[in-house]
């Protein structure tokens, strides 16, 4: 469960200070399906980064499952992130020199899980996204839709409670995009809290809860 209280985020851009997030308060319950929509520059990605623990708010509180995760050290945030949050990006962000299977197992390597267990779980994950036959392919040998499926498998490999997606269909054609949304919604049905940032209305409108953000404020 995600609770944001009076979150502000300021950025120093040259000589100017940008007020990216302005007094955001938001509660997301377990199993929710939320979409965050807004024009370009509205602060959608900043909001996602704060929820994902990739960025710290300038002020305010962030409670993750009733634990205060504001103002923690980098290493603590890394661990909490690894265990609780999975994310999917618009540009996939897979490591080009690793195969699909090696990309998926990376969070487990970082968590210090032994090789045998990793192997089993990777096979399961690949099966879950229908990519068992592409396990040894490198990213430059996979299509956009396949890449995003690998990214989703990687995001879910540690069984996080929350899945965050930043414009997951932004780089895909409509057919692949629909497949990905279907996959994400299936995961939500299995109990994963799903939050999708998008500027695509058709995608955003599918969510059970729609949040709109303009100029750093929720509308």
């Amino acid at each position: 469960m995600i609770t944001l209280e009076n979150i502000h985020r300021y950025f120093q851009v040259g000589e100017q200070t940008v007020h990216a997030l302005n007094n955001i308060s938001l509660t997301i319950s377990n199993g929710d399906y939320v979409s965050v929509m807004g024009p370009s520059g509205s602060g959608k990605s900043t909001l996602l980064n704060i929820i994902a623990l990739l960025d710290q708010p300038s002020s305010g509180r962030y409670l993750l499952n009733n634990q205060d995760v504001t103002q923690r050290s980098d290493d603590e945030l890394a661990r909490i992130r690894r265990e609780n949050i999975g994310f999917v990006f618009q540009f996939f962000h897979l490591i080009p020199r690793l195969t699909a299977a090696e990309n998926i197992e990376m969070p487990m390597i970082l968590a210090g899980i032994a090789a045998k267990e990793r192997e089993q779980r990777v096979v399961q994950a690949l099966a879950g996204v229908n990519l068992l036959d592409r396990a040894d392919h490198r990213p430059d040998q996979l299509s956009g839709g396949q890449l995003q499926r690998v990214a989703i498998a990687r995001a879910m490999i540690m069984h996080p409670e929350v899945l965050l997606a930043d414009e997951p269909t932004g780089n895909l054609d409509s057919k692949s995009g629909a497949d990905i949304i279907a996959l994400l919604e299936e995961l939500n049905r299995q109990g994963v809290t799903l939050m999708i940032i998008t500027h695509d209305q058709t995608v955003g409108n599918r969510a059970q809860r729609k949040v709109r953000i303009v100029d750093g404020q929720l509308k």
């Binding site: 980098d74 290493d75 890394a78 265990e83 994310f87 962000h93």
Partner: protein, 401 residues
């Protein structure tokens, strides 16, 4: 992150940039190899020369005429003092109970001929004691006879090269040699000694000292060689020699005394300094290789910004990223060090094959220290890039397209 995985990931990262990896390893190996080879050369030279002296195994004391006033200066090669060392000085030294043998020495160069063949040759003038003092051995005949100094006979002892050049295929003993306008009968041929403290006895003709003094028209001695009874006696003998000669030379302390120890000690110091400075220069190349490692790794971190940002997003701690990059640096230096060792050994074997008479050996401590230094260099120069990677902001890294 499990240790095995750190190793695997680091290796995979190096493997994906093969050319760069190979070039760095090559640079490091050249550094290690050159340090090894130069240290081996220097150490072997030092060992060889020190050993040469010590193998003389004598308690040899060398007295030279003349003395430099300032301390620490080298003794003059040719006496600059007006006061000569004379045969009487040499005889007086017998008063010391610690001296076992005294060989006065004069040198000169003259044309030597026999049966129509002639060559310019180095002539030594000495007594029978020279054989003992310089550990000479005879191949044929006998050395200079043990007579009183002023009852010199017209005899000579020749070296192997002289024998081959003037008496090739014929017996040398009993033949007459002409030196300048005097004749000497060959009574002995030296065994081949090779070089010994800069003197090639193979090229030498040895005649009695008074004959040499007459031949070269001089009363002064080039050196007096003294052998003491033991190493312990040497210090006492040196003091006694100093006081005897001083007495005879009107209270002037105008001789220089060189003992085997002092020579060995000086050479030891010089060659150690030489080895250190030469190895130091080679070590510079190692440092350069280290800087190269740092440079390339910094570039690597910049190029892999997206990957590092992603790893951080996936939950890599600063420590894990530190370890990853340091492991890469360690691998590079280790591989470079091992290759450098191999290259160094190969070069040493090659040089030994070209110069078989010069025993080459790489001391164990040099081997270990060069590998250690290479490893440390790699790790130290990998610290900065590793730190950069660890401190990367994942958001900034990920939003870079």
């Amino acid at each position: 992150m499990l240790f095995k995985d750190t190793l695997t990931q680091a290796l995979a990262a190096l493997n994906s940039q093969r050319l760069r990896t190979v070039l760095i390893i090559l640079a490091m190996s050249i550094g290690v190899a050159s340090v090894n080879v130069l240290t081996a050369l220097g150490e072997s030279a030092r060992h060889y020369i020190v050993h040469e002296f010590e193998s003389l195994g004598t308690h040899l004391v060398i007295i030279l005429p003349g003395r430099t006033e300032t301390t620490g200066g080298p003794p003059p090669l040719f006496g600059e003092t007006p006061r000569d060392l004379t045969l009487e000085d040499a005889e007086a030294l017998f008063r010391s109970p610690h001296i076992a043998a005294i060989a006065p020495l004069t040198i000169g160069s003259a044309p030597v001929s026999s049966l129509g063949l002639e060559r310019e040759t180095n002539i030594f003038g000495s007594t029978h004691a020279l054989r003992r003092v310089r550990h000479l051995s005879m191949a044929q005949g006998s050395f200079l006879p043990n007579t009183e100094v002023n009852k010199a006979m017209p005899v000579c002892v020749i070296g192997q090269t002289i024998r081959q050049q003037l008496f090739a295929g014929k017996p040398a003993l009993g033949q007459w040699l002409r030196v300048n306008d005097r004749r000497f009968r060959v009574i002995g041929v030296l065994a081949s000694e090779g070089q010994s403290i800069g003197v090639d006895f193979d090229e030498m003709v040895i005649i009695p000292v008074t004959q040499a003094q007459a031949l070269f028209n001089t009363q002064s001695l080039f050196r007096i060689l003294v052998e003491t009874y033991s190493k312990e006696a040497m210090d006492k003998a040196v003091d006694e020699i100093k006081s005897i000669i001083k007495e005879r030379h009107e209270g002037e302390d105008d001789i220089t005394i060189i003992t085997q120890d002092s020579v060995v000690g000086t050479f030891d110091k010089i060659l150690t300094a030489l080895t250190l400075s030469v190895s130091g220069i080679a070590a510079i190349s190692l440092a350069v290789a280290g800087i190269l490692v740092m440079n390339v790794m910094l570039v690597s971190v910049t190029q892999r910004t997206a990957e590092i940002g992603l790893l951080k997003a996936l939950g890599a701690t600063r420590g894990q990223l530190h370890r990853l990059f340091l492991t890469e640096a360690a691998f590079l230096s280790l591989a470079g060090a091992i290759l450098g060792l191999a290259l160094g050994q190969l070069s040493i074997i090659l040089i030994q094959a070209i110069y078989p008479n010069f025993p080459l050996k790489l001391p164990g401590w040099a081997l270990i220290s060069s590998v250690t230094v290479a490893l440390l260099t790699g790790l130290i120069f990998g610290l900065l890039p590793a730190g950069r990677a660890a401190k990367l902001n994942p958001v900034a890294a990920l939003t870079k397209r």
